[in-house]
Amino acid sequence: MRKKMVSVLLCTAMTASMLGAGALMVHAESVELNVVTTFAGEDSNSKNYQEGLAGWQEATGNTVNDNSATSDETFKTTVVSDFEMDAEPDVLFFFTGADANSFVEAGKVVSIEDIRAEYPDYAANIDDAKIPTSMVDGKAYAVPTNGYWEAMFVNKTVLEDCGVAMPDENYTWDQFMADCAVIKEKGYAPVAAALGNIPHYWWEYSIFNNQTDLAAHPTVPEADAADAWVNGMEDVKAMYEAGCFPENTLSATDDETFQLFTQDKAAFLLDGSWKVGGIVGACQSDPEDPSTLDTEALDRFDVTFVPSKNDVRKASDLIGGFSMGYYITAKAWEDPEKKDAAVDFVNYMTSDDMILKFAQHSASPLKEAPEADTSVMNSLQIKAIDFGAKVTSYTPAVQDNFQGECRVPTFDGMPNIVTGEVSAADAVAEGFAIYAESAE
């Protein structure tokens, strides 16, 4: 009995390893690239990415070993620990903020400058001003495909019922607070947000709104120059006290408050350009089939500017930019067999045509961006493109550079701030103290 089991195991092991070896032999002549991206699952670009992969493999005869997965904390952990274990992929599509610090510091990815020294055409169609740089050394490493913005989505059904006008590019904070009071009076929640779960968007804009210099916003300030941060937190507290958020904003999840918005129970939603897909999905009864879209329902949604508090920031100055891109790892770069293929792959995936597909309604990083094809788009996407054209500036989010533990006092601590259990100044100071310690 025992012997039999051992022999069965051995046989399985042998066949398995032979099969493995066989698979390697077949591709011995062409190059096999290991690629990891976040274009997977329900990501709106996962289909475009798969088409791109197929196209490149067919055109070059190379193969891609694609290990893409949806971006979440587990995924980020696997990427970072792969670098630690020298098991990183050849090409990686990943974040450019603090998430990338560990492998940039370790010199495990190649800068665009170094690549261009040997391949002058690398990412030549991309506007250099739009290529994000690393926090570590200020160098550019990743080639972006599409940008993002954060703005205010609007439920017009609720606004019209309250007699509130659609906010425009001159929307001010006072107007906004007055509108919220009117909306609340009518029995709606003015702003759909779960402060206990995802305070990120209000956190970012409240700080942004109190800056005296827009360009300084993405940099974490010195602890004694953090007025914008403290005042920002105070603004969120004022909103909470004025009843701008849903009753259960401290105990609800983001999904719950998002549903308030799509079900005509809340007027405003501050969120990212990726939420367009979520709103469209909410108006579609079959998730896969765009023909089941309730276009009338979708027409009730729009996107607009974020109220401004001072003269420095106009309502049309948004948080946004490019925060992800394709990295080529040092491992692929130093492998003469893979070097060409990796460069070619990134060039293919960031060609004009591809970027047009990937950017959809968000910003494109191209030097000369052609007109987007609106015939294949839904009404909210078209509105988003028109809206994008009126945006006066994009500023990167400071929260991408202010990560991990430092966020805890003001992100997870937001409920304590708005309920007055912790003062805004103390919470901000605590975050900076952790930031200073981790920056050592």
Binding site: G20, A23, E42, D43, S81, P287
Partner: protein, 286 residues
């Protein structure tokens, strides 16, 4: 005609209590299955009604089946979870027997170690395990066998403690007389274990096997770390891919949950029928 037997009130009460609890356990499953046939936007508005007429759709299943090989994933899951369950009951059974029946100095310490092993959160052990397996050279290979092995090995270890805790409890309850009789007839410890103890505690082994199978089957975190390529994905990993990003696609979620849950229920019913003592046993007592 036989006259209907009078049912004692105690029995009525017993059935009443049992049925009440049964309702709470059956309803969620029914709820998930019913909602898997509804469009995702209807689930929130109308989650407690039947999927009839306009409400009915198979779109959720279509999507789950369209998006790459669900059957490959089932196969991978079965290989992983069956190997884990088999290895766990064999090793844990032997260890439990040793811990219960032998008197030795280190016994208390070893039992504490076993309990401790049950407490280790997987989040705190995964990185060293990952580094170790990388050094062993079995991660990120192109072989199905090695990829699955990467998941199987840590999962075996993860389930051993629980299995030993439960099996020692069962073996302790076993009257020693039968083993003594076997000893008198000249059987050695291994023979006693395999020919006397294992058959007597068969239901216990089945129970432990079921739980090991189940936890291995549902353990997403380890799968996320080691099964990177779609070819090697197990069913839970596939489900995660389908339902990730914007956790609001409840329809798809309900259909994938149904697809994940139903095989396990079938396995359980199968084991109930063939391994665990069935109705006849209960009837004798009643």
């Amino acid at each position: 005609m036989k006259k209907k037997k009078k049912i004692p009130p105690g029995t009525v009460l017993i059935y009443g209590v049992l049925t009440m609890w049964a309702v709470t356990t059956i309803y969620p499953i029914v709820w998930v299955v019913l909602n898997s046939f509804k469009a995702k936007d209807k689930i929130i508005v109308d989650s407690f009604s039947l999927p009839l007429g306009d409400l009915f759709t198979t779109a959720n299943y279509k999507m789950a089946f369209d998006r790459l090989g669900i059957f490959t994933a089932y196969r991978n899951s079965l290989i992983i979870s069956c190997s884990v369950a088999a290895a766990v009951i064999l090793m844990a059974g032997m260890a439990s027997f040793g811990l219960v029946r032998y008197q030795f100095k280190l016994r208390g310490t070893l039992m504490s170690l076993v309990v401790a092993g049950m407490m280790f959160p997987v989040f705190s052990t995964i990185i060293p395990v990952y580094q170790m397996q990388s050094r062993m050279g079995i991660t990120a290979s192109n072989s199905l066998f090695l990829n699955l092995l990467c998941v199987i090995l840590p999962q075996i270890a993860g389930n051993l403690s629980f299995a030993i805790v439960v099996l020692t409890g069962y073996i302790k309850s076993l009257p020693i007389e039968l083993e003594e009789a076997a000893y008198m007839e000249g059987s050695n410890a291994f023979q006693t274990f395999f020919k006397v103890v294992v058959p007597l505690t068969k239901p216990s082994f089945a129970t432990v096997a079921i739980f090991s199978f189940l936890w291995s089957y549902n353990d997403l975190f380890t799968q996320m770390f080691f099964l990177r390529n779609k070819k090697y994905w197990a069913i839970t990993r596939l489900m995660q891919m389908l339902t990730s990003k914007e956790g609001t696609n409840y329809g798809l979620m309900a259909s994938t949950v149904s697809l994940v849950v139903i095989p396990v229920i079938l396995v359980y019913i199968f084991l109930q029928k063939y391994i665990i003592k069935g109705m006849t046993a209960g009837a004798v007592k009643g």
